[in-house]
Amino acid sequence: MFDSVDDVVGALGRQGYICGKNIGTVVYLATMLEKPVLVEGPAGVGKTELAKVVAQASRRRLIRLQCYEGLDEAKALYEWEYSKQLLYTQILKEKFAEAMAGSTTLKDAAERVGREDSVFFSERFIVPRPLLRAIQADHPTLLLIDEVDKSDPEFEAFLLEVLSDFQVTVPEVGTLESKHKPLVFLTSNDAREMSDALKRRCLHLYIDFPDSDLECRILEAKVPGVEQRLAADLVAMMQRLRKLDLKKTPSISETLDWARALLALNAKQLDEGLVRDTLNVILKYEGDIKKAHGELGKLLVKKAEEPAPAAPPATPAKKGVLH
């Protein structure tokens, strides 16, 4: 599927996902070793996006399982469709009478019903949920188990079983095996630490906030209209904001939102008034915004002093050769 680490980085880049070699290495290993990947990192750095893009780049169909508290087997794996079964019994009532005809004793009748019960517990009446769909799919799939940290510990144990050999036993039907082993991505926001057993089976990828160079490239790829000078200022400001002790540190998705907002406002450069007015795009808590307002002078003055932020736009062109 992928030939090398650079190939992965290139393929993801073509899909508009700019990343460093660390992500490329792990994705490449995951495809070669057929192991699940556990992606961790702060919110908004592109964990879910990575899975989506890998699916596109490797032409796999994406099947997504969103985890939440109380998610159980019935909602993740499969469920019997009770109402359909009931409906069928109603409709087939007469057929039953036929089948029963001639049975003299109760035991005989029960025997006959027993012979037919496989009709009602067959794949026809199973509602496949994401996990089963990934296993049964006729084409290669990518299974994204999103925010696995939100699920309950029991579900995690159950997940382990499925991830280890990709087969599911439905007692009434038998064992269903996967035709193509799905590529699995699990994402976690560190709401709770995952068990060691799960971690042991996965490759681990930690995506951190990008450095300013990478962030500039991402910005250019994702928000094409933005001017280089503005992009550099913006990224430099974000990098500094992240150093403040904030309740919710703004991440890449906030950078992109902000760039789009500035674009819509037709801004050519960052000045204090503009930043003050649009700060609520990147900071989501009143306390954070207040704090940033207080530091605003410092954040902007710093920029005037150091010419460094002007440099990054030159590098992306060079680094572009990578793709």
Binding site: S4, V5, K21, N22, T25, V26, Y28, L29, M32, L33, K35, V37, L38, E40, G41, Y82, S83, L86, D152, P153, E154, D190, R192, E193, D196, K199, R200, R201, C202, L203, H204, L205, Y206, K247, G287
Partner: protein, 473 residues
């Protein structure tokens, strides 16, 4: 290579990163899949397979640099500078060719037998050399090194182990024989010079290796110190630095308690059949109860009233206790916190306005409500609480008092605590002094003890977390 990865795995384990057997096998397999020219890729592969906790990543990076990168580069640097110092006209290639020639001439005539080390030196086979140094160091027991003073000793032992002197002798022997077989004098001199320089470079490299070994060991030690001893270190003598680190440790412990809590909560869930919800949920199946719904049995979350002595003697204990309690806020329906020295004041609003660490700093300064620069008077504080806040205590409230009960010979007014005790669900007292000191000197702990349900010594983080654990579960 395999040997090195196993060693590296051991190093990770020693530093407190858990790497299972399966994980190190993954590391082997993944390295087979990759080309190893790119060190970054190599590092990412090892990290993805062996390190599964984001907190461990910095440790891993440091160890990786220490273990993988520096040494080979260092070896290379030492030999390059050895060759470089030979002077302008010296041509290594030519000399090696000449030696090659000479060796062929000697073939069969002499019983020259070069050791592995001598061969590696002559051909500058650095990876072979690295291998040899590692083996020798193992033989010399370098991994037992403990302090700076031993570097010289272990360097010498390693060199002896690999018989560096013998190799030098053999090489000089070789040079002599080459001269006899008709090699030009100038070249032989250059060779002799080079041999000396290589031996010096080797000594350097071994010394460097020994130093690194010491660093690695120190690293283990530091890590262990950070992780374990903070838990048991008394709150009384913490440095600023340790207070900062301790804050992280408290946050982690609180997180762990929350995790465990979610599991235990769920086990409580199986209650009675919930007929109402079940009928409604199963209406789609014609009222046939396919799905059973049970009522949830909720463990009642306690209310918490915290009384903290913030006089300088116990301020640190108060700090971590407050942090702990507020990190676990969701385990309680309500927390009200009061601080006292002699006067008592409520600081609950502080925690609503600011984030925890700031609020705690302010609370320890008295939070604008009390004067902290007085002498402790528990009796007065309890009396004030009894007069003004007794309504805050009901039969679902746990009252948590933190203080050393050193009352400066004031009236203890135990009856106030008795009344609080009568109204509350529990009264828990955490005392940073050990029980043997209770009631001696100006301690009035013995006067209060009859009205306390749980009295515990709480002097370090381990004890604190054990108490918190009992409190919330």
């Amino acid at each position: 290579m395999q040997q090195k990865i196993v060693e590296f795995t051991n190093l990770l384990r020693k530093s407190g990163i858990r790497v299972s057997m399966a994980e190190s096998i993954d590391a082997f397999v993944s390295i087979d899949e990759l080309s190893l020219d790119d060190r970054e890729v190599f590092r990412d592969a090892l990290r993805a397979t062996m390190v599964k906790r984001s907190e461990d990543i910095p440790t891993f990076d440091q160890l990786f640099d220490l273990y993988w990168s520096a040494f080979y580069d260092n070896l290379r640097g030492a030999f390059d500078s050895a060759v470089g110092s030979m002077g302008g006209e010296f041509d290594l290639e030519k000399l090696l060719q000449a030696i090659q020639q000479g060796l062929q001439n000697l073939e069969g005539q002499s019983d020259l037998d070069l050791s592995e080390l001598a061969k590696a030196l002559l051909t500058q086979d650095l990876s072979q050399l690295e291998q040899l140094i590692r083996q020798a160091a193992q033989g010399a027991g370098t991994e037992r090194i403990e302090n700076m003073l031993q570097i010289g000793f272990f360097t010498r032992r390693t060199l002896e182990q690999m018989d560096a002197e013998g190799a030098g002798r053999q090489l000089r022997d070789l040079a002599r024989q080459l001269r006899e077989s008709g090699m030009p004098d100038a070249q032989v001199d250059a060779l002799l010079d080079l041999i000396d320089k290589f031996l010096e470079a080797l000594r350097q490299a071994v010394r460097n290796y020994t130093e690194r070994e010491l660093q690695q060991r120190n690293f283990d030690y530091m890590e262990k110190f950070r992780r374990e001893s903070l838990l048991e270190k008394s709150f009384y003598n913490l440095t600023e630095e340790e207070i900062r680190k301790m804050r992280e440790v408290v946050a982690r412990l609180a997180q762990r308690i929350k995790n465990v809590l979610s599991i235990r909560r769920r086990r409580l869930k199986r209650g009675k059949l919930d007929l109402h919800t079940m009928l409604r949920r199963n209406a789609g199946h014609g009222g046939v109860p396919f799905e059973l719904i049970f009522k949830e049995r909720r463990k009642e979350r306690p209310k918490l009233v915290i009384l903290c002595d913030v006089s300088s003697s116990v301020a640190n204990v108060s700090r971590f206790m407050l942090q702990f309690m507020y990190s676990l806020q969701e385990c309680f329906t309500k927390i009200r916190s009061f601080v006292f020295v002699a006067e008592l004041g409520e600081v609950t609003p502080l925690f609503k306005e600011r984030d925890i660490s700031l609020a705690i700093d302010r609370a320890l300064e008295g939070g604008d409500t009390i004067n902290v620069y007085t002498r402790s008077n528990f009796g007065h504080a309890f009396h004030y609480f009894w007069q003004n806040f007794l309504a805050a205590v009901d039969n679902k409230t746990t009252v948590l008092i933190l203080g050393d009960a050193r009352n400066n010979y004031n009236d203890p007014r135990g009856w106030c605590l008795r009344d609080i005790h009568n109204k509350a669900k529990d009264v828990v007292w955490l005392n940073p002094e050990s029980p043997s000191a209770w009631g001696f000197g100006d301690s009035v702990m013995d006067k209060y003890l009859p009205y306390i349900d749980v009295a515990e010594e709480c002097r370090n983080l381990k004890q604190l977390s054990r108490i918190v654990d009992r409190l919330v579960l």
